[in-house]
């Protein structure tokens, strides 16, 4: 396995939620995981709107990104479910020699060529495989006051035959990592639910109805915060919930556990204030 990484933060995190990039870097540094920022990164052609407008654009843009990582001989480390799915699904399809050669023809004028050897990983996978012992050894501030409702997010797990971040029908990784910080998991979704984010700005009433369906259950579970590894879901919970539970991004939970101050990881930038 290639354990040197190019940190691919995507679009949403670096532009609107840079505090999530800060906490992610904090965690990777603590774990002494070697990474550098992805050079010449662009949007992955996000898989909800853009990809459906230009399916071939998606394959070509991702082929360019995959070729950069391949040339650097580093794995792509994604901080976002959407980027993870977009890049990993493209990587999966571009294993096909014929399709890859046709996409290479499209990206030819850029001077890039993809040979089908890139690896795409999610932050949650990379942290999870560090294992309980190692994570616990770094926890200096146990989070037992937290009662978490978990929201893994769709594009961490579906399509499961491609993403394979979890080898199980019901995702457990997020729950395991949370428990290593001594946080209590009070609600885990059997079937990872949609946050409604895909319709935000397109059909807001339906988007909110989907969001409320999840959050109503979270509140009933006695949770005092929501945990998610996806910045898109995070935005739904943090900004679009009205008087809802605060949301924590996975890297934020780990940063706090590893002794980061709320100040240094920018918790004050949450719209739904986190003060537990």
């Amino acid at each position: 396995m290639n354990d040197r990484y190019l940190l691919y933060a995507g679009c949403l995190i670096p532009t609107r939620l840079p505090f999530l990039e800060r906490s992610s870097r904090f965690v990777l540094d603590k774990l002494e995981i070697e990474y550098e920022p992805f050079p010449d990164a662009t949007c992955c052609v996000e898989p909800i709107g853009l990809r459906s407008l230009g399916y071939d654009t998606w394959l070509a843009v991702t082929a360019r990104l995959l070729s950069i990582a391949e040339e650097d001989e580093k794995s792509i480390l994604s901080l976002c479910n959407g980027c993870f799915m977009s890049l990993k699904e493209a990587e999966h399809l571009l294993r096909d020699d014929e399709l890859r050669s046709r996409i290479n023809e499209v990206i030819g004028p850029t001077g890039r060529e993809y040979h089908g050897r890139a690896m795409v990983r999610h932050f949650l996978e990379v942290v999870g495989e560090q294992g309980e012992k190692r994570i616990r050894s770094l926890v200096s501030v146990p989070q037992e006051r937290l009662k978490l409702a978990l929201h893994p997010g769709c594009h961490l797990v579906r399509p499961s035959e491609v993403l394979r971040a979890e080898g199980r029908y019901t995702p457990q990784r997020l729950s395991e990592i949370a428990s290593w910080t001594d946080a209590k998991v009070v609600d885990n979704e059997d079937w990872p639910q949609c946050c409604g984010g895909g319709l935000a700005g397109v059909e807001d009433a339906i988007s909110l109805a989907i969001l409320n369906e999840s959050t109503a259950r979270f509140k009933g579970s006695g949770a005092n915060a929501i945990l998610t590894p996806c910045p898109f879901c995070f935005v739904q919970f943090d900004i679009r919930q009205k008087e809802g539970l605060p949301a924590l991004y996975l890297a934020e939970l780990l940063s706090l556990s590893f002794g980061a101050s709320a100040e240094e990881i920018g918790l004050k930038y949450h719209r739904t204030k986190f003060s537990i």
């Binding site: 532009t15 949007c43 996000e46 230009g54 399916y55 949609c194 930038y269």
Partner: protein, 163 residues
Amino acid sequence: MRKSLAAESADEIIQDRLAQVELWRCHQCGQCTAVCPSGRHGGIRVREVLERAATGNLDVAFDRDIWLCTMCNSCSERCQLGADPALVITLLRGSAAAKGNRPQHFLEEAKLFFSTGLSFPCTGMTKKLRKELKLPDLQMDERTLEEVKVIISRTRLGRIKYE
């Protein structure tokens, strides 16, 4: 205007993918609709979309249902017959967009992507927050942007009418 070879090749990729979609696999069982988060709140009726697509009764120039999908992939995950509704919807959306049927929200996103290489705007607030958090400035170099524009111009996003 004559299409470039690359444009034809890229279009073929979509055509091939469409050919791989096997709508006949759909037996109208309704599992897709049962797991759809949008459908139960008055959004897309997935089973019905597949039926209309299979029987030629879906006009992509006007269909609204296809834009009410959140792309959560639950339908494709649950479909035991391999009809892959989420892919069907993705490809139908592409055909719809080519005929001018697309939400303004996604059109704006495509414009932003074309002009900046990102799908969210880098604003003054972005700069301020990154500075406060001691993160490097977000800068797209000219060459990267040029490469993306070349790719877009040779594929479908480059042929969307942006007016």
